[in-house]
């Protein structure tokens, strides 16, 4: 019989600290069987900041996002999200907190037996919001991701890029305070990837939502740092050379379960660490 990992109730009362940052990891470690994936990592994501997370495959980037939203529990360390200590919350308490956080999964994770509008409206339906309001908000958010025509379609009828955009729509429909993107451009062609990056940028610059962006594509993060979304023209525009976007944009690099870099674009570009220089070259 396989060993299942059903949600474990933790009766300990959660600790609330003033919400001075969106997410904070304090010496967080996690191992699967004998393999240590994250080994005492610490970092902060400020309100309104977007942090791009890099690392080779298997370096624990996705695990980090799942820890942040409480889908996994660390072996040691503490995690705070919007001032609440996720690591001490019970599964029932976490359901409340997760309503303030949006997550876009690596493979979209859309409910394949539900239509696009049901997927996007899932959270609103759970909150028993009137049907007319749900329809209006679903259409609005699908317009935001430029997929209003897919309203009545099933996820299986959509392309990979369209599914990612629907997943983004589902994550942002309640305007969460924090967004977690797990490789939103992974496996997509460059044109579709750009569309997704533009959407993430639009969410960042229009709604100023804090975000952790896990990605393999360095160019996506640099585009995020050197472009800004222009509401007037409804597209992203390049910033003058040497100037970075108004919204705080930072980078975090993981290696062998540790954070080896946490800083802004300028610090990254001028880093003397050989591994980092090789990574960004």
């Amino acid at each position: 019989m396989p060993a299942p990992t059903l949600p474990i109730e933790n009766p300990a009362t959660s600790v609330v600290r003033p919400s001075d940052c969106a997410i904070e990891f304090e010496n967080v470690s996690i191992a699967f069987d004998e393999k240590v994936v994250l080994n005492g990592i610490s970092f902060r994501l400020e309100h309104g900041e977007t942090k791009a997370v890099f690392g080779v495959a298997g370096s624990g980037k996705s695990t980090m996002l799942k820890l942040a939203i409480g889908l996994l529990r660390p072996d040691s360390g503490r995690i705070f999200v919007l001032g609440e200590e996720v690591t001490r919350m019970s599964e029932q308490e976490l359901f409340q907190l997760r309503r303030r956080v949006g997550m876009v999964f690596q493979e979209s994770a859309l409910f394949d037996s539900l239509k696009v509008y049901e997927n996007v409206a899932f959270r609103l339906m759970e909150e028993k919001i009137p049907a007319e309001e749900i329809e209006q908000r679903v259409r609005e958010v699908l317009r935001f991701v430029e997929l209003e025509r897919t309203y009545d379609m099933f996820p299986s009828e959509l392309s990979g890029g369209m599914r990612r955009r629907v997943a983004i729509a589902r994550a942002i429909i309640t305007q969460p305070e924090v967004l977690l993107y797990d490789s939103p451009t992974g496996g997509l062609d460059p044109v579709t990837s750009n569309t997704i990056v533009e959407l993430i940028m639009k969410q960042r610059d229009v709604y100023k939502t804090s975000a952790l962006l896990v990605t393999h594509r360095l160019q996506d993060a640099f585009t995020m740092a050197t472009y800004q979304f222009d509401k007037a023209t409804n597209q992203m525009v390049a910033l003058p050379k040497g100037q970075y976007c108004e919204v705080a944009m930072s980078f975090l690099i993981l290696r062998d379960g540790k954070v080896i870099f946490d800083g802004d674009a300028h610090q990254l570009a001028t880093s003397r660490d050989e591994y980092i220089r090789e990574y960004i070259s």
Binding site: M1, P4, F95, Q96, E107, A109
Partner: protein, 264 residues
């Protein structure tokens, strides 16, 4: 190329088994506790009742008729030797209502629905849909497990009644058409042999079997690991485990009822 065999420690196997039993118990307890916690997903429960109940009706009708007819056919050949063919109705009635009706219906529904639940939830696990549901602030045991448990226990109760009735009709067909038993004699003996204890036994079992089918199906689905191959494995294990568990529980429930009410 040398083949390598990994020896598994019996302690590890015992630990895994104990963990599986613990997780199954937790999931089962949660699925029941959720009936008393809001929100209660009534629409999902009705949908599951339709899928499980109405969907299983054709196989229950066919197996009920066949088992009743077979029971009459086999018992009649023995009874004929002692000139007791008129007792067919009693044998079919007791056999169907107390034992074969609930058991056959339970096994049929286990084959059809425990596998369905395990594969559906297993696919949702491997495609991260369950994680997505948790990330959206919805408890998967409330939304997915509890409606299945409620719907299966509720519908199996009625499916068993239908199977019992059709078994009696099948038995009547054989008794009347092949062995020439009088219609009134058959149905009178069917009715007269049954006492409260028999009906109680026959109706408590499907509720327990429904609970076993749904919790085992959901448990294997929710604990699926290893992609599509894992889904296949979970599906098979769900059918095997629920069928074996039904047979074991059937024995103990029957024994318990005998101990409580006394033997006939």
């Amino acid at each position: 190329m040398a083949l390598e065999f990994e020896l598994i420690s019996p302690i590890e196997v015992a630990k895994d088994f104990a963990l599986a039993v613990q997780n199954y118990t937790v999931l089962s307890a949660q699925s029941v506790a959720n009936f008393f916690r809001r929100p209660l997903y009534m629409a999902d429960m009705v949908q599951q009742a339709d899928l499980i109940g109405v969907g299983s009706l054709p196989i229950v009708v066919l197996t009920g008729l066949s088992v009743g007819a077979l029971l009459a056919l086999n018992s009649a050949s023995t009874l004929q030797r002692f000139g007791g063919v008129s007792l067919i109705g009693q044998l079919v009635s007791l056999g169907m209502v107390t034992e074969l009706g609930p058991l056959i219906t339970g096994l049929m529904v286990a084959g059809r629905n425990a596998s369905g639940m395990a594969s559906e939830l297993g696919s949702m696990i491997v495609t991260e849909q369950i994680d997505a549901m948790r990330a959206l602030g919805t408890d998967p045991t409330k939304k997915l497990v509890t409606p299945r448990v409620g719907a299966t226990a509720f519908m199996l109760f009625f499916l068993t009644i239908i199977a019992d009735l059709l078994g009696l009709i099948g038995g009547y067909g054989v008794a009347h058409l092949i062995f020439g038993v009088d219609t009134q004699q058959y149905w009178t003996s069917v009715w007269q042999i049954l006492v409260f204890r028999d009906v109680f036994t026959g109706l408590i079992k499907p509720v327990l079997f429904g609970f076993i089918i749904s919790t085992v199906g959901c448990y294997y689905g929710m604990s699926t690991r290893g992609g599509t191959q894992g889904v296949g494995r979970s599906t098979t294990q769900a059918v095997v485990a629920s069928s074996v568990l039904i047979l074991v529980v059937d024995f103990f429930v029957t024994k318990l009822i005998f101990a409580f009410f006394g033997y006939r």
